[in-house]
Symmetry: C2
Subunit: 506 residues, 2 copies
C-alpha cells in the first residue's frame, strides 16, 4: 500500500482545451450529408437579399459569409460532422434573435443555433445550408443575488466564466464539465448537460430557475423568473431544457447557484476490479454522505492513454481501474475527518489499493485535468466512435467487455470511463480512421445492448444529428408521436435545427 502526497513538480504547463485540440486536427471531415446519406428537406435557399437583410438587421461585421471564415462553424469538435452553411449570424440581443427567426420562418430558411460547439452528436453544426445563429456575442451576466444564489445571464456566457464570476461571490455554478472552457450556458441548457457534479447539485431540470427563449416564429417566451417555487401554469422552461434547439432557441438563463464550498478534497485511487469500484461507491455514499460531490471512474486504458498522449503524470501506479472522489463541504475539519475514516477503512478492506488525496487547488486541477482530458487524448489515436449511455450500476462496465470481445479482430481501442454516481458511462472506440465496417459492428449493436438493460442510449450528450435513427431504443412510438406533436405546434415549418433529434417517420 503506497500513499503519497501529490506532485512535487508542476508537470502540467498548459491545459488542453477542446478548441486547442480542434485546431491540431488537419484533414477536413467528409460532408455529413454524404457520409450519412441524408436528403435536404424543402427549405428556402439563402439569397443575396437575405444576406442584405441580415446585414441591415445586425450590421455587416456580425454576418459571416466568407467560406474560410465559415469553416470552423460548419465542423463539430470531434470532426465527425461537416455542414455547408453559407452564413453565420452573431446576434447581440434577444430582439435580434427574434427578428432573425421571424424572417427565417417567413422565408422557410432552416436555422442551426450554435453555442460553444462542443457537442458530441453533431447537434451544433448544420447538416446542409442552415443559417447558423451563433451566440458568442450574447455573453453578458445580468444579475446575481448573493443571498438566494440566483444568477441571470445571456445564453452565450461561457460556463467557466460564469463559474469564476460566481466564485468571486461565494457561489459556484451547479454544473461542471470537461468542456467548461468553451461550452456556453445556453448550449448546456439546450442539451440538458449533466457533467461531473450532478450527483451532488442535481440536474439542470432542477437547478434552472428560468429561461427566456425565442420560438421559430420569433415570439419571445419570457419565463426568466428567479423564484425557486413558481407553480403558475405549465412549466414552459422545460420545453427548452434538453430539446436541443428544435423547439426554440434559449436566449437568457436564470440558474440556482449553490454556496461555494469552504472545504474541497480530491482523491485519486487505484482499484483492482469494477466490482471494487461499485463497493467503494456504496461505502463513499455512506461515509461521506452529504459532502460527496463527485464519484468518477476510468479504466486502465483511459488513464494510461491520456497520460501518455498528453505527456501528463499519473500520480499513482498502474491499476485496472481508477476512482476519483471529490468532497465539497462547509467545515475543513469535519470533512477531513470523514474522509480519513473512509480511507482508513477502505485501505484496510483492500478496496483501495493505492491512492493520493489532496486539498491543494493546483494539485486538484491536475488530477481533474487527467480525468477531463480522456476524450480529447483518445482522439490522438485517429477516429473516435463516441458513446454515452446510462445503465443500471451492476451492468455499468459490462458493455466495455462485450464490445472488446465483439471487436477482437479489429485494430481499435475501447475506452470506458464516466460518472458512476449517475449510472452514466462513456465508451469511446478509437480506430486509425473512420471505417464503415467498424461502424456496422458498433451500431445498432451497442444500442440494442443498452436497451436490453433498459438504459438510455444517450445519457447526457443528447440525440443531435447522430442518433435520431436510434432514439426508438429509448423512446416508444407513443412518446415519439408526442414529440412530433410538440414540434409541429412550436415550429410548424420545421426550420429549427432540422435533421436533429426527431427521427423521420418510418
Amino acid at each position: 500500500m503506497l500513499f503519497r502526497y501529490l506532485f512535487s513538480t508542476p508537470y502540467i504547463t498548459k491545459t488542453c482545451t477542446l478548441n486547442k485540440l480542434n485546431r491540431t486536427l488537419s484533414t477536413l471531415p467528409q460532408l455529413s450529408s454524404e457520409k450519412y446519406g441524408v436528403k435536404r428537406k424543402e427549405f428556402g435557399v439563402l439569397k443575396n437579399d437575405d444576406v442584405k437583410f441580415f446585414q441591415s438587421l445586425i450590421s455587416k461585421e456580425r454576418v459571416l459569409t466568407d467560406e474560410s471564415e465559415l469553416l470552423p462553424y460548419n465542423i463539430d469538435w470531434i470532426k465527425n460532422c461537416r455542414g455547408q452553411s453559407k452564413v453565420v449570424l452573431k446576434p447581440k440581443t434577444t430582439e435580434e434573435v427574434s427578428q432573425i427567426l421571424k424572417y427565417c420562418n417567413e422565408r422557410r430558411l432552416a436555422v442551426c443555433p450554435q453555442g460553444g460547439n462542443t457537442g458530441l452528436v453533431g447537434g451544433s453544426v448544420p447538416v446542409f445550408d442552415e443559417v447558423i445563429i451563433n451566440f458568442m456575442l450574447m455573453n453578458k451576466i445580468i444579475s446575481v443575488d448573493e443571498l438566494s444564489g440566483a444568477l441571470v445571464c445571456e445564453a452565450g456566457c461561457i460556463l467557466e466564466n460564469l463559474d469564476n464570476y460566481a466564485r468571486e461571490r461565494n457561489l459556484i455554478m451547479p454544473l461542471d464539465l470537461g468542456a467548461k472552457g468553451s461550452c456556453q450556458i445556453g448550449g448546456n441548457i439546450s442539451t440538458n448537460a449533466g457533467g461531473i457534479r450532478l450527483l451532488r447539485y442535481g440536474n439542470l431540470q432542477g437547478t434552472v430557475l428560468g429561461v427566456e427563449a425565442v420560438k421559430a416564429d420569433g415570439s419571445i417566451i419570457d419565463c426568466l423568473r428567479t423564484l425557486k417555487k413558481d407553480n403558475t401554469g405549465y412549466h414552459l422552461k422545460h420545453l427548452f431544457i434538453g430539446s436541443e434547439g428544435t423547439l426554440g432557441v434559449v436566449t437568457k438563463v436564470a440558474i440556482q447557484c449553490p454556496s461555494l464550498p469552504k472545504s474541497v478534497n480530491l482523491g485519486f485511487f487505484g482499484v483492482e476490479s469494477f466490482d471494487s469500484v461499485l463497493q467503494l461507491y456504496k461505502s463513499a455514499k455512506s461515509s461521506l454522505g452529504e459532502i460527496l460531490s463527485a464519484f468518477e471512474m476510468a479504466d486502465s486504458l483511459s488513464i494510461g492513454t491520456t497520460v501518455k498522449n498528453l505527456k501528463l503524470t499519473n500520480p499513482i501506479g498502474e491499476y485496472p481501474f481508477y476512482v476519483l472522489i471529490e468532497t465539497h463541504g462547509s467545515d475543513e475539519e469535519h470533512d477531513s475527518d470523514k474522509l480519513s475514516r473512509f480511507l482508513s477503512r477502505e485501505m484496510d478492506s483492500g478496496l483501495i489499493v493505492d491512492g493520493t488525496v489532496t486539498a491543494e487547488e493546483t494539485k486538484m486541477k491536475s488530477i481533474w485535468n487527467i480525468r477531463e482530458s480522456i476524450a480529447g487524448a483518445a482522439l490522438h489515436g485517429g477516429y473516435m466512435f463516441k458513446y454515452d449511455v446510462s445503465v443500471p450500476l451492476r451492468s455499468y462496465y459490462e458493455l466495455v467487455h462485450v464490445l472488446r470481445r465483439r471487436l477482437r479482430a479489429v485494430d481499435c481501442k475501447v475506452y470506458g470511463y464516466g460518472h458512476v454516481g449517475d449510472g452514466n458511462i462513456h465508451i469511446n472506440v478509437v480506430v486509425p480512421e473512420y471505417s464503415k465496417e467498424v461502424y456496422g459492428l458498433l451500431e445498432p449493436f451497442i444500442f440494442e445492448e443498452v436497451s436490453k438493460h433498459k438504459g438510455s442510449i444517450s445519457a447526457e450528450h443528447g440525440v443531435g444529428f447522430r442518433k435520431p435513427q436510434y432514439i426508438h431504443y429509448s423512446k416508444d412510438q407513443t412518446s415519439l408521436q408526442l414529440m412530433r406533436d410538440m414540434k409541429r405546434v412550436m415550429d410548424p415549418n420545421g426550420i429549427l435545427n432540422p435533421y436533429k433529434v426527431l427521427p423521420d417517420p418510418s
Copy 2:
C-alpha cells in the same frame, strides 16, 4: 436568554390530520359554479349507458353513483369548492385509466383526476359534473433500488406510506409536506408540490426520474425510466409535472430518494423581527451548509392560534417571530458541533432570543406538528382566504403588513408563515364567514402586489380552479398562448380537468 430541553410531558395525544379536520366541518360549501359564476362548457352528459360501461370495465363496486357517497369527492379540503359529479371511478391499473379516458374522450365527457384531495386551489374536485377518476386504489410500490435510490410506484400511493417504506431501506422521500398523511404522489407530481425540504433535496422537476401518464385520448406515455441521466429526446415527463392533470393523468412514478440521514436535529427559536429572521437564514446557510434541511418561519399569530386552537404547547415563550431550523446529516458529532457553534454565535449576537433544540424523534414530531398544523388550526376561526406566493426575500413578510393595514376595518386575522429558504410565504386571511366584500378587498390586490415584486402568485399550490383569472400576473400573453397550444395538441377536446389552470381567452 432561556434555553430548555423539550417536553417533559407528552402533550400531544393525537395528530390533527387533514381528513379529521375535514370531518369536523359541518356546513356544505356553496356550489363552485354558483359561487364563482362559472358557465358549464359543452361536454357530454353522463347517461345510464355510460355508468354501465364503467361498471363493466372496472366492476360495480368501483363505480360510485350514490349522492351521499359522492359528496366527499365533490368537496375540497378547505371547503371552498363544491362540484356536482355524478360518478366516481376507482381504477386499479393504468390500462383501466386508459380505457376510461378513451371512452370519455370519445363521448366528450369531462374528467377530474383526483389524488388525496388535499389541494388548496380547487384543482382536485370537479366544478360541474365531471367524471371523477380517483386514484386511491392504485397504491402499489413497484420497486426500489437501494443502491441508486430509485423508487417506482403507482400514482395513488400516499406520500407518508412511501416515506415509511423508504426509511425501512435507509432512504427517504425527497419531499415532505403537511398533507403527507393524505396526499398522493401522483397528485404531488401533478401539482409540482414543494414542501418543507425543497431547500435541501430540490424540486420534483429535479427528483422525479420518470413518469407514466395517460393522455386524454387514452394513449399511454411511458417515460417510467429510473435513470438519473437520459437525454434521448424531449423530456416528456415535465409535461405532466405541475400541469395539474390538464395535459394528462399521471399513473406511475419513478423518483430519486436521498439517503436516510443518520443524524437529525430540530431547533425552534424565538426571534424579535423579520429582519432578524433573514439575518439568521444567512447565518444558517453559512454555518450549517450542506446539513441545513429546512428553514421555516411563522409569525406570532400563526403559532399562537395553532397552539390555542389545537391545545398544543408552545415549547418556548411568546415572540414576534418563530424560526424552525432542521439539519439532516451523516455524522451526529459533526452535525451537533456545527449546530452548537451556530447557536452559540447567534445567541450571543441576539438574533436568537429564546429557543429549544432536540434530536429526539417524538419531540421533533411535536415541533413539526405545530408548524404543519398552522393551516388547519386557523380554519377553526371560520372561512379562510388562502394565499401562497413567492417574493424576493427582502420583501418576504411585507405583504402581511400591507394586508393587515388594508383590512384594518374588517373582522379578520392575517397569518404569515412559510418556507424562507425558498422565498415562499403562505398568507391566510381568516374571517368568520365567506364575504364578497373581503374577497373584493383581497383580490386582485394581493396578486398586484406580488406582481410588483416580480413574484409568483402561486408558489406551490398551483392554479387549479381558483386562480386562472389571475395567472396573467405571473405569465405573459405569449406564454399563455403557448400553454393553450400545448393543451390543444394534447387534449383537443379539452376533457381533462376543465375550468382549471388555463384562463378563458379574453
